[in-house]
Symmetry: C2
Subunit: 123 residues, 2 copies
DNA sequence: GAAAGTGTATTAATTATATAATACAGTTAA
DNA sequence: TTAACTGTATTATATAATTAATACACTTTC
């Protein structure tokens, strides 16, 4: 079951978006597999100290994207085939990297400097 | 004068934060220098098609951070010494890079893969 | 000096995000 | 079967972000 054990609020973007992001990144890394049960909305709400409606918003959007499947009374499940996985992977990797590269360029940082920065921060 | 010619809305984060970010990155790159005049709040509002109050919020926060100086009736001016420049540079570079690195790690991407991605996206 | 431009302030309305308190119907498990 | 759990829905409230419409005092420029 996807327990959200290592979930942490990262920035000041909406919580429901950070939950969606957590699930998508887990799918890309392989930590979250097809068919896995999600933690229940109420349980995640208690775990994160966040309102149940906020969790519901995230889960509902994940369902609209076709990433999880829900039916009343039972836990929601992850439902992603290989095409979906690859689609999420491509989108996230390029979006995040492009954003960082644009940031570096706007600050006048060269590619070599950026690569070195990456190595330093990676640890 | 700082004209915001190449300013573009990047993401769905608050506009006033993106304006602050634009100015800070310009200072880091050297495109924005100490003593330069800011475009007036009303002119920037018209240029970006954004409410004057949103611009005022950004300018007001830049003033509170000690990055620009304003007086009624005259245009606001950038006021940053070398220590401030270096402080902004360190903060932005590490914050942006750390965020990207964390994203890559959460998706199970190795440092070598991340560096290669960076090279590809850089163009 | 007068007109135009500029920073600042106020009040009101709207949308998005998040919280709060319930309620109901379906599933799971003892 | 029954109790606990789960997904779903509703109504209300609060705060942040944005827009809108003015107004006033000060500076710059002609």
């Amino acid at each position: 079951m996807i327990s959200f054990d290592d979930f942490i609020l990262q920035d000041d973007s909406p919580i429901y978006l950070q939950i969606i992001q957590y699930v998508k990144r887990g799918i890309v890394s392989g930590a979250i597999e097809n068919g896995e049960e999600m933690i229940s909305r109420r349980a995640l709400s208690a775990l994160l100290g966040v309102n149940p409606n906020t969790i519901q918003k995230a889960y509902h959007m994940l369902e609209e994207e076709g990433i999880i499947y829900s039916r009343t009374g039972a836990k929601s499940c992850v439902e992603v085939d290989e095409a979906m996985k690859e689609s999420i992977r491509r989108t996230l990797l390029s979006q995040d990297t492009l954003k960082w590269v644009q940031s570096m360029k706007q600050m006048g940082v060269s590619m070599e400097e950026a690569l070195e920065l990456c190595r330093e921060v990676w640890e």
